[in-house]
Structure formats: C-alpha cells, structure tokens
C-alpha cells in the first residue's frame, strides 16, 4: 500500500509500484476471431473508449501483455493462438470473452475447442454471447483488481504442463515435407 506521509513523501514497495504500472497499462493483442471481436471493436471505438483504462491494442505479441480471446476458438486455430501466447513476454494475462472462448458456447461440435483454458490458463472469463462492451470493460476492471490483489502470477507450474504438452504433441516446429 502506498502512503502519503506528512512530509509529502510517498512510501510504497517496489512490488506495489510495479503492479500499479502493470494493471493500468494492459496492452492487449489485436486479435479478433468471431462475433465477439465486433463487440471488442466497439469497446475500443468512440463510445466505450477502452483507452481510458490504459488499454491500447498492439499488433505484435511482443508488445502485448494481455490476450483477449474474442470469439470461437476452433481446433484448427488453437495451436496458432497458443503460439502467439507463447510469444508474449511475461507477465501476461488472458481474458476469454464470450461463451465460445470460455467453454465452447453454443457450438458443441467436432471442430470447436471446448474452452480456451484447455490450451492457455485463463484469468478472467466473461460470459455472454456476445458480452456487451460494458461486460468487457467490467472484465478488464476485474483483471486489474486481480492483479492488484494477487500480484504477478507465477506461471512455472503451467509452463511445466506446456512443455510436457509440447513435447507430447511434437509442437516444436521442424522442417517437414509433403
């Protein structure tokens, strides 16, 4: 906790300072998958204006620390999304927007991934089909709260799983022939 003492000094911890900076400058990756992406665009456009929260969309995963999965994740796109997630530098967070990304939504079919958390650990799930832009704003505020309370997550455990998973599936790309 930051405190203002009588001499006008602010006392805080480095952790707290970093967390303050992190939660107020969440930069999501510009990725739209389906219908929910339209609502995400609306959230970023004139009326809802995500910039107010310090949320600025970046086109490169190297500059982003938040992945908003907006839309249906089908099996075919899942490994690529995971690749992007792995290209994002730590610390990073993931919000699933909408029923599809959270748990498969209205598509319990052969081609749809039943929930983004099957391949990426998720921090905030936003229900809705699609969620209202206000819902997305609320989700981002919740994430800020989470970062404030929990600090930066350690992903070691999840990474272990990733690595095992990658080895199992042979996800490390090699040159192949057709």
């Amino acid at each position: 906790m930051a405190m203002l003492n009588s001499n006008g000094f602010v006392l805080t911890t480095v952790d707290e300072l970093l967390s303050w900076g992190r939660r107020n400058a969440l930069w999501p990756l510009t990725i739209g998958l389906a219908c929910c992406a339209i609502e995400m665009m609306h959230a970023a456009a004139s009326r809802f204006d995500l910039d107010r929260l310090g949320v600025i969309f970046r086109a490169s995963p190297r500059q982003a620390d938040l992945l908003i999965v907006a839309g249906t994740v089908v099996n075919k796109v899942a490994p690529m999304l995971k690749l992007l997630w792995e290209q994002m530098p730590d610390p990073k967070w993931c919000i699933t927007m909408g029923g599809c990304a959270s748990a498969g939504g209205p598509f319990p079919t052969y081609s749809t991934l039943q929930g983004m958390d099957r391949i990426i650990p998720v921090d905030v799930y936003i229900p809705g089909c699609p969620p209202h832009p206000q819902g997305l704003l609320y989700g981002i505020l919740q994430l800020q709260k989470k970062i404030k309370e929990k600090g930066v997550k350690k992903y070691d455990k999840a990474f272990e799983e990733f690595k095992k998973d990658m080895e199992r599936q042979g996800l490390i790309p090699r040159e192949i022939t057709v």
Binding site: I31, L84, P106, P108, S111, V178
Partner: protein, 585 residues
C-alpha cells in the same frame, strides 16, 4: 424466383433423352447420369443461358448404393430462372467442374472435406476447412455432431490452481482432435508449390484479414506470382448442427454466421423455412422485418467502411463510422434485447412487437444520417490517397461475375444488376421503392461507391417502412400464430392455455415439415445468402446447405491479386468484404 419452365425443360429433354425432369413444389430438378453431367451443364451454360453458378453440394444417403448425391444450382440472369441439376456419385467420385466455373473448385474442395467425395480432374483436391491429415468426413450421416473425443485436454486454469477430485467445474477431459503446428504446416505446404522468391503467410491471426483467413502469397519482390486462401479457421460445423436441431432452434445460429448482418441472415433463413412449411407472414411483421434488415444493411456497410478505411490508414473514418453504428445498435437492442446476435425474427413473424418509440428514434436517425454520409464522402470520395489506392485495383469483368458466382455489391460493382430483393422479393421488398446502384469499371473504387449508394437506398426503404408502420394499427398481429408450426408470442403464452400447450409441443417435438426441398436466398450485405433445405419430413432438416455469398466472392481473390502487389491485397480484400463466420460456417 421462378424455376426453369416447361418450354426450356422440353428443349433440354429433346437434347438429352435420358435426363429426367422433375417439377417439385418449389424447384425444377434435372436428374442426369454422371457420364452426361458435364455435357448437360455445358449445354445449360452456353445454350440455355444458365451461366451464373450458385452452388454445389452433396447429400449423403448411407442406405443407397451410390451414397452421395450431388446437387448443382444454376441461375439464368436473362430469364431470371433457376434450376437444380442432380446426379449420383460413382464409386465416391464425381467429375470436376473447374473448367466450366472456376469457383466450383472451392465448392468441390468443401464437398471433399465434408463428405469424402473425390473429384476427377480437380487441380488440387485438398481439405477445405479441416487440416491435412484429419481422418474423418464430418457431414457424413454416420459421424456424430460432437465429434470423436480422443485426446485428453484438461483445463489449464484448473491445473494451475491445483487439480482436484472431483474437478472444480463440470466438463469432459476428453476432447476432439486438435492439430499440431506440423499438421498446419503440412496443410500450408500442400496448397502452394513455391515458384518465385518467397512465400508470405498473411493471417490467420492478422488484424488486416477481417477475421481468421489465411492467405499465402508467392512473391517475386512486391509482385504476387500466385496465391491461395486457406479457410476453416472459424469452421464451427453449422451445417452439421442444422441437421441435429429443430428448425426454430437453428435460427440463433444463423445470427452467428455473418455476425455483422444478423437480421439479414435470419430473414433469409425464416423465408426459406416459411416457404417449406407454407407459413403466411402478417403484413406488420413483413414491414418490421424489412425495416430492420435495411438498418442492419447500413450497419454492416458502416463496418465495412470503417475497417476498410482503417486498413488503408484512415483511422478517422473508423471512429466516425462506429459512432453511427452505435446508434443503429441501440435501435436494434431496444427492440430485440441484443445488440449483435439478435434472434429477433421468428418463423411466422417476430419475437417481439415493435417497442414503444422505435419509429421516432428511427425517424431521428433518418434525419441525421444523410449529413453523416456526406461527411464520409468528404473524407474519402475525392481524397487523393484513397483514389490512388482504390482506382483500377482489382477489376472484375462481367464474365468473371458469372464464372465465379459473385453476388451482392461485388457483382453490382461490375455492372451486373443482380439483386435478390428485386428478382425474388421477400418480406416487403415488392411493396417499397428503391433503386439498384451499379458500377461501371468493377474496381475497388466502384464497389466502394456502390456500397455508399446502397446506404442511401436503404434509407429510402426504411422511410417507406416507417410511414407504412405508422399507419398500421398498434394491435395488428406480428406473428401468424394460427399456423400449426408457428409459436405463439410470449404474452399469449402466459395468458392462454391453448397457446401454451402449442408452444410446449413445438419446443419439445419441433415443427413437422413436409418432405420436399427448397432453395431460397436473400440479399445480404455480402451477397446472396441461400438456404437449400432438403427435408424428408420430420422436425429436422435432412440436409441444410448454406450458400455463402462471402465464400464465392472470396473465391476470385487469388485471380485478382495475381500480378498485383501486397499493398493492393489489403484494399482488394476490404472491397470484397468477406466475413469469416459465413465463409467457414
């Protein structure tokens, strides 16, 4: 739209003795032996004038010997007639139509992907939506909708929090097959044999591709030597779902196809089902439908304008266009309760009556919007950068419109006045006055102008709908609840036992449709969205094929971009305006 008449059918019969002509209630079908298929189609295209390729798909009959029946739908732009040609696959094989209509290549790839039908003479028969190495053919009748759970994919959120027994939430560990990156690489490599310097992947996760389309460009410097498009990054199995749910249950799924113009999709779908079930729609409902479909068209064109301009570097237009979009979204939300995926229409009418004050808000919008349109025009139409980026880029000739099955603003931009609202009026389009804008050159700029003018025409239609709706009494019915297959409106269900029982019956057992087939299409902002329903009776369609305008419009992309530059690809794609939800379904 009328179907092939008896005079033409007799001529066909003279020419081809063994063709069976079948006049069903809603269509004209020509049954032909497979050996004669190409000859018949050639005759239809060159002699009889059926030159616009609408769609091709297959139907699976597991109990029949040949199993797969191929269905081709063609359209004659002169006499404005359609025809369906049917043939059976032989040993799971069909001849490829690639030489007749180049867009058939994509339809055949899809049929191969979904049914496993092979095409003789296809240049590169590959998986359309799934990846290379995927072992199943999902639309076959013996494949379950849920797929086959075969890999273990536990929730990582749960693993991170420490896995518990029983698990923290209710889900299945086992999941259907997910490809590896190698599978995807194999898919990519199988599509394009490198000829020039470098193969550039554009997409699938790229802000400029309007969703998740995956483009491959074989580049020689800036110049594109050849290219291909990989789809399926949003293939959700809509057609499979349709076979497994009741007719009314599929309605919300149509919203999620072309999610930018949800109400137009619904309108096409309910029109098709209403034709099959023979439901009359009350006048009020028809006008409300028309009004909202046109509002949605403006809404959709605004999104195209905003993102298309954004791709070419004009951020202002994006913000301005979204300002107007929000207003339309509010009108829609006030009536349907949902902004984007509305589910506002119902088979036989609407879900809700017009909300109090809607017409006033719409009138205010009508008054306000022309000034906004002028604003967009002043930003772009004579803007030098805009002209340089769009003039004479991606010119589509009139022949190509027919060869590639192009519809919607893309066809009209090339001077083909193909508009289902005029050719086969549905809802209240035959009672309102409007013009069809057409382009001359067929370049990106013409398509831009056509869409801008379409918004003006939509305003005209909305204005007429408003004045009509003002005259209609408030108590006029908005659902034809007398029909046995139409659900009664909510307020009646709570007050009336009979209505409640009827709704209960429909929800539990579904509507029962007569056997037969229909093909009905609507004019979507993206082109012709058609529904081909093959019913064998019962409450679920045996086969529901969605003819996507966006898919066929996109099929010309590789041809147009050849010898162009990468920068043109972005302008070109924006002008074709595909939505992945619809191309992939």
């Amino acid at each position: 739209m009328p179907w092939m008449n008896r005079v033409v059918a007799d001529k066909v019969k003279l020419e081809f003795k063994d063709v069976d002509v079948e006049f069903t209630k809603h269509t004209t079908n020509l049954h032909v032996r497979q050996e004669r298929l190409i000859d018949l189609l050639l005759y239809l295209r060159d002699k009889a004038g059926y030159k616009l390729f609408i769609d091709h798909t297959c139907i699976d009959f597991p109990e029949k010997k040949e199993r797969f029946q191929a269905v081709y739908i063609l359209h004659n732009p002169e006499s404005n007639e359609r025809v369906i040609v049917k043939t059976w696959a032989k040993d799971g094989k069909l001849p490829s139509l690639e030489r007749l209509w180049p867009c058939a290549k994509w339809a055949e790839r899809e049929a191969y992907d979904m049914f496993g039908v092979l095409y003789d003479g296809h240049e590169n028969l590959r998986r359309m939506f799934m990846w290379e190495g995927y072992p199943y053919f999902p639309l076959r009748k013996d494949f379950p909708m849920e797929g086959i759970p075969e890999v273990e994919l536990p929730s990582l959120t749960e693993i991170y929090a420490g896995r518990k027994e029983p698990p923290s939430h209710d889900y299945e560990f086992m999941h259907t097959r997910v490809p590896t990156l190698e599978d995807l690489e194999r898919t990519e490599k199988s599509r394009l044999q490198k000829k020039a310097q470098l193969v550039l992947n554009w997409g699938p996760l790229h802000p400029g591709t309007h969703g998740t389309i995956w483009f491959l460009f074989d580049l020689d410097g800036e110049r594109v030597v050849q290219s291909d498009v990989i789809l399926g990054q949003l293939h959700r199995g809509m057609e499979k779902i349709a076979e497994n749910v009741y007719y009314f249950q599929f309605l919300p799924y149509t919203d999620r196809m072309d999610y930018i113009s949800a109400i137009c999709n619904e309108l096409s779908y309910v029109t098709a089902v209403e034709k099959l079930l023979q439901v009359e729609v009350p006048e009020k409902a028809r006008y409300i439908r028309t009004m909202f479909a046109e509002l949605q068209r403006i809404n959709s064109h605004l999104l195209w304008l905003g993102t298309g301009a954004l791709d070419l570097g004009a951020l202002t237009v994006f913000l301005y266009a979204f300002r107007e979009r929000e207003k339309i979204m509010d009108i829609i939300e006030g009536n349907a309760g949902f902004r984007l995926t509305t589910a506002f229409l119902r088979i036989g009418g609407l879900h809700y009556d017009l909300a109090e004050g809607t017409l006033d808000v719409v009138k205010a919008f009508l008054k306000d919007f022309p000034a906004k349109l002028r604003e967009y025009h002043s930003l772009l139409t004579r803007n030098r950068i805009w002209l340089r980026r769009t003039k004479d880029i991606g010119v589509i000739t009139r022949e190509d419109v027919f060869n590639y099955g192009l519809t919607g603003p893309v066809a009209r931009g090339s001077g083909v006045p193909y508009d289902i609202r005029k050719l086969e009026p549905y809802a209240a389009y035959d009672e309102v006055d409007f013009d069809i804008p057409v382009g001359e050159v067929g370049d990106v700029y013409d398509r831009y102008l056509v869409r801008m003018e379409e918004m003006v025409q939509s305003l005209r239609i909305i204005e007429q709908c408003v004045s009509k709706l003002e005259k209609l009494p408030k108590s006029a019915p908005y659902v034809n609840k007398e029909h046995p297959a139409v659900m009664a409106p909510k307020e009646d269900v709570f007050m009336d036992l009979e209505d409640m029982v009827k709704n209960f019956r429909i929800v539990v057992h579904g509507e029962s449709a007569p056997p037969g087939e229909v093909y009905v299409s609507g004019e979507n902002p993206r082109g012709e969205l058609g529904f081909y329903i093959y019913s064998v009776g019962g409450s679920k369609p045996y086969r529901l094929r969605i003819r996507s305008g966006a898919l066929y419009n996109l099929s010309i992309f590789p041809k147009l971009i050849q010898d162009g530059t990468i920068a043109d690809a972005i302008a070109l794609l924006g002008s074709l305006d595909p939505v992945v939800g619809e191309t992939d379904r």
